[in-house]
Every structure is written in structure tokens, then in C-alpha cells.
Symmetry: D3
Subunit: 279 residues, 6 copies
């Protein structure tokens, strides 16, 4: 696997039919900057091209799966005086639209089966990517997904306009999106979003990751793996058009909000603890 740079927050490795991507910045709750999301997309492309890979497995570490977009990254985009933008539109196109449309697309069109090992909460764009995975396992009942768009002055992103109603039902999606409510374990479980809960205590994300991988290895034994990719290709055809459509609609709708300035104001309140995520 040549030609991809390193990233200190995200590691990857191949293990038989599994391509493993791990978030490894637990001290920062695996918050990700724009470049990190792009890096995730590039890793998915790498997995896509590798003929030995049948399953792409997302793992994290520590207490959170990922706390979402790093406020520092957003502040940097805002304050960076080395780059001059012709307009607010230009700035947010470069700093928001570009990466979102890319990483969402990478998840939407990924040709391998996407498996998420949900060790803890996921927020925002990271939670959106979890909702684009095909299969999700949870470490315990403390996991949740939070899409704080209404709290941050944004709109649905990362395909959540389509994925959340599909996976949780329309009314449930509305209740949680409009009022900024986390999707807690019970909802994740009853809806079938989580296929299995490993029921492990919280400080053991490595044990959890290993347990999932062990179980996956035994699950695929004797199976004809090309069948899995053939079925993924067919299943993908169900929603690919809706997801591609919404990807363009979401980023272009969001842009207006970034240009108006509300998300930035609210992100900095969040950074300075004046505003909190509601849980």
C-alpha cells in the first residue's frame, strides 16, 4: 500500500480480509480536523483498491469513538491569515464543503463491507460516518450518537438526511434531529442499528476491538468472500442515488449557514464552554 502519508490520529493495517482503520487520539476524544476526515476518505480508497480486502473495519480507542469536528481546526480555518479568500463563500467552500462532499462520497461508494466497532459516543460528522457503515457492534450500553446540527447552526450532513430516517424511522429521526437529542443505546439496539452489543466495561476499547476481530474471523470462516462483495454491490444499488443526491444538497445547503456565520459563533461558544452539547 504505497503512497499515502502518515497521520498521527489515525492508523491503518491490513489483516487478512480485513482492512483496519483506527482512531488513536483518545486523549482528545478522537476529535478530527478537516484533514483527518480527508485522510479517512483516502484510507477507504486504499481499502477499495486492495483485492485482498473484503471488510473495512473502523475502530477507535479510549472513551469516545469520536467527538466530531475539532473546534480548533475550525478556528484555524477562520483565523488563518496566511490564506486569503476572495469571499466567505470561497473560504467555507475550501474548508467545509470540499472535505464533506469527499469523505461522504468515499463512504457512500465504498465497495467493501463497512464495519464499525463502536467503543463509545460519536458526535457530528463522525457520527454521520458511523451511520453510513453497514454493520455496527457496540462495546456496551454507554454508546450514543449525537447529531448536534440544530445546536450548532448547521443542517444534516454526511448523508444523515437519508441514513437516519432509513435506519431509525422517520419520526424518530425528526425528534432527535430537531431537538438535538442523542440516539442512545436503546434506540440503536431496538432499531437494529447495532447488530451485537459486546457488553464490556468502558476502559477496555482494545479488548473490545480484539474481541470483535476474533469474532469476525470466525464468522467468515468457510464463507465465499467474493459473494460478500457481490451482495454489497447489489445492496448498495438500493440507496446510492439518494445518497449521491443528498450529498450535493447537504453541502450546498450547509454552505449558507457557514457563510452567515452562525456555526462559527456556536462552535466558539462550545470551545469556550459557553455552550454545551445536550445529552
Amino acid at each position: 500500500m504505497p503512497g499515502i502519508r502518515k497521520n498521527e490520529k489515525i492508523r491503518y493495517r491490513a489483516a487478512g480480509p480485513f482492512f483496519i482503520i483506527q482512531l488513536v487520539k483518545p486523549e482528545n476524544l478522537n476529535a478530527l480536523e478537516g484533514e483527518d476526515y480527508i485522510y479517512l476518505g483516502e484510507l477507504l480508497e486504499l481499502a477499495d483498491k486492495d483485492p485482498n480486502v473484503y471488510f473495512t473495519v473502523l475502530q477507535s480507542s479510549g472513551r469516545f469513538f469520536s467527538s466530531g469536528a475539532d473546534f480548533k481546526g475550525i478556528a484555524k480555518a477562520q483565523g488563518d491569515s496566511s490564506v486569503e479568500y476572495a469571499s466567505e463563500t470561497s473560504k467555507w467552500l475550501s474548508n467545509f464543503v470540499a472535505r464533506n462532499v469527499y469523505v461522504t462520497d468515499a463512504f457512500i461508494k465504498h465497495s467493501k463491507v463497512l464495519i464499525c466497532c463502536l467503543n463509545g459516543p460519536a458526535i457530528g460528522m463522525s457520527a454521520a460516518l458511523v451511520a453510513l457503515c453497514d454493520i455496527v457492534y457496540s462495546m456496551n450500553d454507554k454508546v450514543y450518537l449525537l447529531y448536534p446540527f440544530a445546536n450548532l447552526g448547521l443542517v444534516t450532513e454526511g448523508g444523515t438526511t437519508v441514513s437516519l430516517p432509513l435506519k431509525f424511522g422517520i419520526n424518530t429521526a425528526y425528534e432527535h434531529l430537531m431537538f438535538n437529542k442523542p440516539f442512545k443505546y436503546d434506540t440503536l439496539c431496538e432499531s437494529g442499528f447495532i447488530s451485537k452489543n459486546f457488553n464490556m466495561p468502558s476502559p477496555s476499547s482494545e479488548t473490545f476491538n480484539t474481541a470483535v476481530l476474533d469474532e469476525l474471523r470466525s464468522k467468515v470462516e468457510g464463507l465465499y468472500l467474493p459473494s460478500c462483495l457481490g451482495m454489497k454491490k447489489l445492496l448498495q444499488s438500493n440507496h446510492i442515488d439518494s445518497l449521491n443526491k443528498i450529498n450535493s444538497m447537504e453541502v450546498n445547503e450547509s454552505l449558507k449557514y457557514w457563510v452567515d456565520g452562525e456555526p462559527l459563533r456556536r462552535f466558539s461558544q462550545l470551545g469556550s464552554k459557553q455552550r454545551k452539547h445536550r445529552l
Copy 2:
């Protein structure tokens, strides 16, 4: 809010970001005539145009949310000798198709978040409109929805062809529609159709309405409400085409049944207590 006439069965008022529409004819179980459904649609248009409104809240009063189309209205359409229709087709176009295609459209394309306070059972077209709401809260576990199309010689109307399978699952929709079974509280709850049950005793619809509104007020605190409308616009794009398509298909399919006369026969049996809704 100028230019809209009064209606003795339906009241409305604005309260901050909420536009509240209330059915106020409990002594008649809030049965609605054709004109009342049209009035509902006109109120939705009013809410649509008001830039201060973000949520349209449907409330009712008394024991039932709404017992559906008023038989007396239908009998009037039938017996009214002041209007002469060129044919049965003309009559039912004016008295059924016209209002149904309009009120369904008003709900389908409404740009504000639609919230229903379900204080009791809803039947027929009224139940169809409940199923077009984005969020539903129930007063207690005695609520149900009944779509008695098979019992009345009709077919799915008010977008239920699309909304019921989407919100309850295909097989569940078939079982209830084909055999005229009410969707009872358990099904409403497990499917996520109801987001929260307020668990209040039955004679207290006003208390319930107030409690919901209070909770909504606290839920939207601190949120950026334009985000809610942005997300609604995106979410709406998921099913708007299917709903528009089915709106035309449903009314035109129903027309044949009205012209053949079966619904009228069965409605009058219902009026004279020869036929009952099955619960």
C-alpha cells in the same frame, strides 16, 4: 394573519415559533367535513408563509383526536339537490377528490416541522394526516389509528399508501390495511411512530396539550431554529416525489369506488349503526 375565515370546529393561534391548530368539537369526536379538511390545508398555508413560525402543532380536544370524515357531510353531498352534477364522476370529483388532493398536498409540502399531539384515537382521513406529521406525542396508551378503507369500500388515501409502510413496515401495513385493524399504542410505540407518551389520564386533553407545548418550549431553547427548517427541507426531499405521485394515484383510484356507490352505502350503514368500525 389576515384573510382567513373562521371555522367553528378548528381554532388556530401563533405562540412564538409555534403555530397551533386545534380541533375544538369534542362533542362530535372532532369529526370533520370536507370543508373542514380544506380549512386545515388553508391554515397550513398560513403557517407556511409566517416567517416567525418554525413548528406547526396539531392539537385536539376531548376523547378523540378525530373520528374522521363526518357522515353527515357525505350524506349532504349525496342528497344536496341545490347542486346539479352532470354525472356521478362530477359529483365525487367536487366532493371528494378535490379536497383530498388538496389537504394531502398541504401536509406533504408543508415547510415547517409538523408536530401532532395525539390525545386519542384518529380515524380515516384524519388518521392519514397524523401519519403525515413529522413528530407525534401521545397522551396515553389508549390512542390508536384506524384506516377503515376496506370496511368502507374505499382505498388508501391521504398518502397512507406511502406513509404507513414507511413508518410501520410493509407487512404490518398490509395486515392492518387489508383487515381493517387499528394500529394500537404498542405498534405506534415500538415502531417509533410515537416519540413520547405523556401518560396522562384520558379526560385531560388540555393538560396534555399544555404539557407538550411546555416541553417543546424547553426543547427548542438555545437551538438555532433556521437549522430546523433547513433540515426539514432536506429530509422532505427523501419522499416528496413518492408522496406527490401517490396523492394523484390515490384520489383517482378512489374515485372509481365513489362512483360505483359502495362507500356511500357503507357510510350510511355506519351512520345508521348497521355497520361499525372494528376495534
Copy 3:
């Protein structure tokens, strides 16, 4: 063919595999009132149910195919004090939406091959129905289609939102719809909208109708006619969803304009010769 009333402007008869519907009010340029459009829809249903019919043939008489909605009918709807409507919305639902959604649907879902013998100009809703026919023959190069929606304060109706771009190309549809330009013979011909021009002098619509029917008879000789219906069913599946969707969207969009009053004002200017169709 039992159970259908007579109509003095429209005649019908079966002739072997052909079901012939003829507009017979040349002295009035075959202008049609709401009830006449409904009658057309009822005739299509009759043709649909007749197992001996494979082709439904629309003919007219005199100089015009049909000059569209009769202004007198519209004025009647407006002035009729015998019927009291609860609101402008109610009135126009009964008088406009109802019939349009019905007759458009009847054309959209007709199961027999629809053939139009275009003896002269067609305007408005009548021209919309011509555009829903599968095959069109013209009497001579004086025929044209005019969709005067922008001149009358209306919007596209009768499925023209879909049918005109499909049959004439998008840019051509825009140019003609926005600026109220007639689709003249050359455009009808070059686009393939007209399959054959019979090139007969104008006062001979009967000769033209006979010539088309003779030619049709010889064309179907030796063919297996059930194949024609099988192909129609398949071909219909291409656009049925788009047409159903737009049928509901068009009537509900138009309704706003009727309620605002502009079409009525402009129709009466037309009636009093203050306003003209542009040709």
C-alpha cells in the same frame, strides 16, 4: 357500452379495434367546459374497459381542434350564486383542481394506444391532452399548439410540465412556455411530435378524419393487436411516475393562482377581447 350520458359537444363510437371520440362543436371552435373535460375522461374509461378496443382515436371538426377552456364556463363558476363555497379555495378546488387532476389522470393511465387527428390549432388544456397522446397526425401545416399559461396567470397543467420538455426538448419548452409562443407546424414536425402530415386543405376535417382512419385500418392489417397493448403497457412504465407526480403538483400549484384571482381577471379580459392570445 351502457351507462354514459350524452354530451352535445362530444360524440363517440366504436369501429373495430378503434374507439373514436369526436369533438363536434366547430361553431364554438370546440371550446370545452369543465364538464366536457370530465366527459372526455369518462369516455377514455369506457374505451379502457372494452376488450375489443386497441386504439383510442381523438378527432375534431371544423377549423380548430379545440380552443381550450370555454371562458363562459369559467365565468359561470365564478358567478354562480346557487352554489355557495366556504372559501375561494373550495370554489376552485371544485371547479378547476377536481376536473384537471381527473382528466389528466385518465390520459396518463389510458391502456389503449392514443391517436390524435389534429385538424387545426389546439389551445390550453386541450393542447395539453394532445401532448399526452402517443401518436399525432396533422391535417396540414396550419395546425399549432398554444399553452397560454403565462398570458392567463396560470402555470403548466395537464402534465405539460413533463410532456413538453420530453417531446420538444427542454430549451424549446422553456422558450414557448415562458413567452407564450405557439408550437407551430415546423416545430411539431421536426421534433417528431407529428408522425405524418396529411396535407389537406382546411375546410375538410371530415375528409381528413376518414383518411386517417382508412390509413390506420390498413396499417394494422396482419398485426397481432395484443402486442400493441403489451408494448403500450411497457412504454407507459417509462414516464407514469413522473406524470402522476406532476399531476398532483400542477393542480395544487395552479390552485394558488386561481385563489389569487389573476386567471379569472385575464380570462374575462379575453372574453371581452381586451386580451388576446398571441400567435
Copy 4:
């Protein structure tokens, strides 16, 4: 009902508004060969054409609903030297693609309400057909559905690419399809796939079949049955395009696997007990 041959594994009869199709080869777990699936499709056509039929009821007998495609049939296709095929592609087109595209289509477009009496497990193509039924009743909690495509070197067939995500949720469908896991009673029940469990002991499939039919008879009493077919027609329009699309995609994707030989190898391991279905 003239013109249809007999089949020793499948019986049918009409009973009022019910057309009953029963699998009657319990000693073979109701395994079906290619010809039997075609026969099922032909019976559906028979039910379709009968104007007295409103419901098509699938029953089975013994311990299993159907253990799927009979390995002996597949071996026969392989070993049959009386037929010479120009290529592997030709052989599998005749022996697999042809029947699958047909029987799936017969279920997809069936105009009567499809009811399945699930007396026991169903596997493979037979389980795919169960998932295309509109309503399913179970005999007890020992029923399950198994789609062993990954184990047999195949891909989703019989419309399961569409039906399973629709009826069980996307993530649940992935987990079960990729890892060859049976959909057990709990999942069937919670998802609403099964409308009612009759909770009868296992050796009593006849009692179960009778009980379902009795209950159906009482359920339809007083209903206007043409309404049921009208609603089916409308409901069918929701997914007919997706199902038709996937029917062609599935059989053509599967063909590659048959030509490559993996399914045959694995079916013969299954026949010789070297390979087992995983439960």
C-alpha cells in the same frame, strides 16, 4: 382453472376468496427443483386471472416450510449429458437465470394479497419468496429464514437485495447476509415481518394451516374485498420499480458465480454433508 399440469410436490385449490397453494413433500423438507419454482409462478398467474380470488395463501406441510433449492436438481443440471450446452453461460442461463427471473417476477407483480403460513424454516430461494409475501403468520417460535448465499458462493436472489433491507432494516440485513446468519423468530417478530404467531406445537402443520384459514375467513367478513385489491395495487407501486430493477441485476450478477463454478462445488459439499448450513 384449466390447462395447468399437476406437480407432486405442490397442490392448489380455490376456497372462496382464497387461492391456496400448498407444498406437500414434507419427507423431503419441501425442497424444490427449478421446475417446481416455475410451477409456483404458473400457479400465481392462475390466481391472478381468477376474478373470485382476492388472497393467495401459501401453505406448506411437515417440519420445514421449504429447505430451498434441491441439490439433486442442481446436480442433474450439471450432469445431464442429454442436453448439450454451447457454454457454461448457456447452461446456467437455462438452469438458473431463467427460472429465477420468472418466479421472482411472478411474486413481484402478483395482483392479489400474498399471505404466507410459515409452519417452519425456509431457506434460500424459498425464503426469498416468503420475504416477497405481503403478510406472514408463523406456527411457533421455531421458524426461521436462512439466506445462505455467502456459504454457497452465490449472491442475493429472489429480490432479497431489496426486500430484506426494507423489511428488517439495512444493518440487520447486512449482518445476516454477510455472515450467513438465520433470521430467527425474535427478529422476524420485532421487525413486524410476522404479523401473528399462532404458537402451536411443531408436528401440527395441518392444524396451523386450518387455523390460519379460519381466522382469515373471519377477518374478511363484512369487508369490501375489491378495496383490498385496490390497496394492493397502490401499495405495490411503492417498490415495483426497485424490485424489477433488482430482479434483472441479481440474476445477471449471480450468473458469473455459477459460470465460475463455486456454487456447484459448494452445493455438492452440502449434498455430501461436507458442508452444512449454519444455524
Copy 5:
């Protein structure tokens, strides 16, 4: 290019970025049997997999491009007593549905740019495949396409339900399909179906084939050929769903006609010169 058998009517070779498939049975007007159509599909798969191929070029020889399905093949299917079919449905599934669904799919999903060198008339299924090509060049103005479904007791096949209205306009498609009229050079040209006419005298198909290939070689000079495949992939996404849907619908609709026996009767009249193609 290993593993594909020879076929005496069809040759293939690679020539730089071009994969050339040639019909070489001019003495039989390049009529094709079922197996030959399957062979065509297999060649397309071969071209698909070859990374050096960017364009798949269809050529023929002699006076006709292809006169369509060989009657002798169909008669063989009918008369072949060595194969016993369980029913008429089984027979026609094996002999018609199977090959049609396959070869149509091979053309629909082909990933290389499909170019047809139309040296003369094409009829039936062969003409359907021409209509699925991306680019068509004609030898002279004597070429035509004939879809004699109405004359043969069949319905649209090979995706023509979708391709003909798309490429010729809806009304033109209806006129030609319903009345079994050939699409003559003028229509092919004016609609843009043919991109260039080489205007060569008829007995020179080899010269024509060479001229096209020479021109193609000079056209692609300097181009970045992966861009061509990227654009094909994007363009293909426009209609792939409609084509997949119609592929399944067409073969299953056709089946009824084969089972009823009309096509066979008419094909044998054609074979015995009692019936003619109409030109």
C-alpha cells in the same frame, strides 16, 4: 484472452484500444440464433475485463447488419424432442427469456464505449442491440432498423421500451413500434442516432469497416482514454436503473406471448414466406 470458444458466425480481435466484434455470416444476412446472442454477451464480458480496451466496436459484413433471430433456431427450440420441458413456460424460459435477459444486460452494463458500424439493415433483437450502442456510424442511406414485434406477436425487447423513445422521441417510437414501420435513414440521421454517414456503396462493408476504424484511430489520438471510460461510467448512471427495470419487465411480459404460441406461428409463416417483414 483465454477460455472462450469459437463461433462460426462471429469473430473478434483486439486492435489497440479497440475490441472488434464482427458478424461474418453475410450469406445468411447475419441472422443469429440464441446461442449466438449469448456468445455476443460473452464477448462483451471479455472486452470489459481487458484493461487495454476502451472501445468495443461492432462490425458486420455483407448486405445486412443482422436480420435478427434466426427462424431455424426458433423452430429447433420448438421441435427439439431430445429436451423435454415440464411446460411451455419452462421451454420458453430456457429458449427465450434466459438469453434475452443476459445479452441485454451485457450491453446495458458494458463499461467500454460501444460503437456500431452499421453496414446495412438490422432487425429485431439485433436492432435492439444497435439501439443500445453509444455511437453509430452508417455505411450509406440504405440502412434501417426494424422492430417487427407487432408483426410477430411479441412485445418490445432488448431494452427498446426505453432506448427507442429516448433516442427517437416518444411519438416517433410509438408510430414505428405500433405499426411495425422501419426506422429509415432519414429518421436515424435527423434524430442524431447516426453520428456520421460514410456514404459508401453497398457491396463494400469491408472498406466501410476499415474506414471507420481508421477514422476512430485518428479521432482518439492525443486523447486521455481513461477519461472516456470515466465519462461512460457517469453517463451510464443516467439510464441504468430504467434499463435494468425494463429488462426484467420485457422478458417476463414477452414470455406470455411465447407461451400462448403466437410468435411461433408467425415466425413459421415468416419462414415459409406466408408472412413478410413490412418495409
Copy 6:
């Protein structure tokens, strides 16, 4: 119209119901850099919000409408050492994907009628935007559109995957896209892409712009302009989903080519005259 910066290559003004946007850099053939395309999008938003605007009119100046993306801008993106990108993906996301997805979206969802005054050739992204206009008038027969994606190592962009087949036919789109052929006046005219040719000599773009505007003024006289916007809204619903879907697909597909480096190589050959556009 507050809050929008100036741009030396693009001017705008309102004139009654017309919002006029003019390219005013004829000495540079109106080549546009990334920021200029963004500016175009911002102007469309301005026009969108202005309630007095019904038509957005694009004009240019000099010999060319626009020669497309300015090579100098692309070189700058490449050579700019002040901005450091984490990867090639990041760079091209910021410099290509971001602006393309935005400006394409602005044209796709524009709510006013889009009119293009085509004074001369348009190339690349600029030509893509012309193809998204609703109505096009040409100055004379020297205009052409060139989409040199195959020559530049790119793929279809700016919605051309959808717009070109829709407006020119599929085979014509393939022939021109694959072989980098300009769409010349004859094709533009016969396809109906151009609604009217003003037939003016080349050095007179100002005269042409004035003539078009004068004619537009007289064309809209007496029309009810809200009808135009109502019809645009309906017409837009025909293809908005396809265009949104393709917008995301195109930019993400293109990205791969930018990252691989081929477009940059070819753009610099173009800049240094080693490579030419083919006309």
C-alpha cells in the same frame, strides 16, 4: 443588493424583471478562474433573493462567450507555496471540487428563468453552465460549445453528464464527448438548444446583447410574470434529482484525475501551446 464584492471580469445590474450578469474581459476571451466561477454562483444567489427579478440573463463581450477555466489560475493553484496542503487530495478538493460543486448547484437550483446570450464560443466549465441555462440565443452561426474533457484528462463536469444527453440526444453526446468534438451551430440549432439566432456580425456583442434584451422586454409584455416562476419551479422538478446526484458524482470522479496529475500536465501543455483544443 448589498454585501457582494466587485469582480473585474464580471459585472451585474438589475433592469426591471431582468438580472443581467456580464462577462467583461474580452481581451482574455473571458477565461475564468476558480474565484470567478464562485462569484457567478454568488450573483445567482443575489438574483434568486431579489423579488423583482424573474429572468437572469447571462451576457458576455467580445469574440468568445468564455474560453473556460483560466490556465493561469490552475497553475497558481499548483505552484502556490503559501498554502500547504496535507495531500494532493486536499489541494484539489480546495481548488477544484469545492468551486465546481458550488457553481453547478447554483445553476441547478436557480429559481429564476436562466437566459444565455451566446455571443461566441464557450469552452469547458463555462460551456457546461451554458448547457444548464433554460433558454439560449445566439449572435450568429460562429458560436460553438466545446467540452474538452477527454483532451484534458478530465471527465464530464458542471452537470454535463445529464444536460448534454438531455439536450442533444445520447448518441450525439457520446460522439462529441468521447472524441472532443465541438457542438457546432448546426447541432445547437437543430436540437432546439438555441431558440433563436440573431444573425449579427461578430464584432458586435454589445449590439447583440441590446437586441436580445429589447426583444425580451417586448416578449414579456402583458404576461403575468409570477406564472413564469411557477412554471420554472414545476419544470425544475423534472431533473433536479438527477442533476443533484450527478453533481456529487462528477466532482468526486474528477478528483481522482486531478490527484493523478493528468489534467495539470495537459493544462500546462495547453498553456505552452504544445497542446491545442481541437476544433
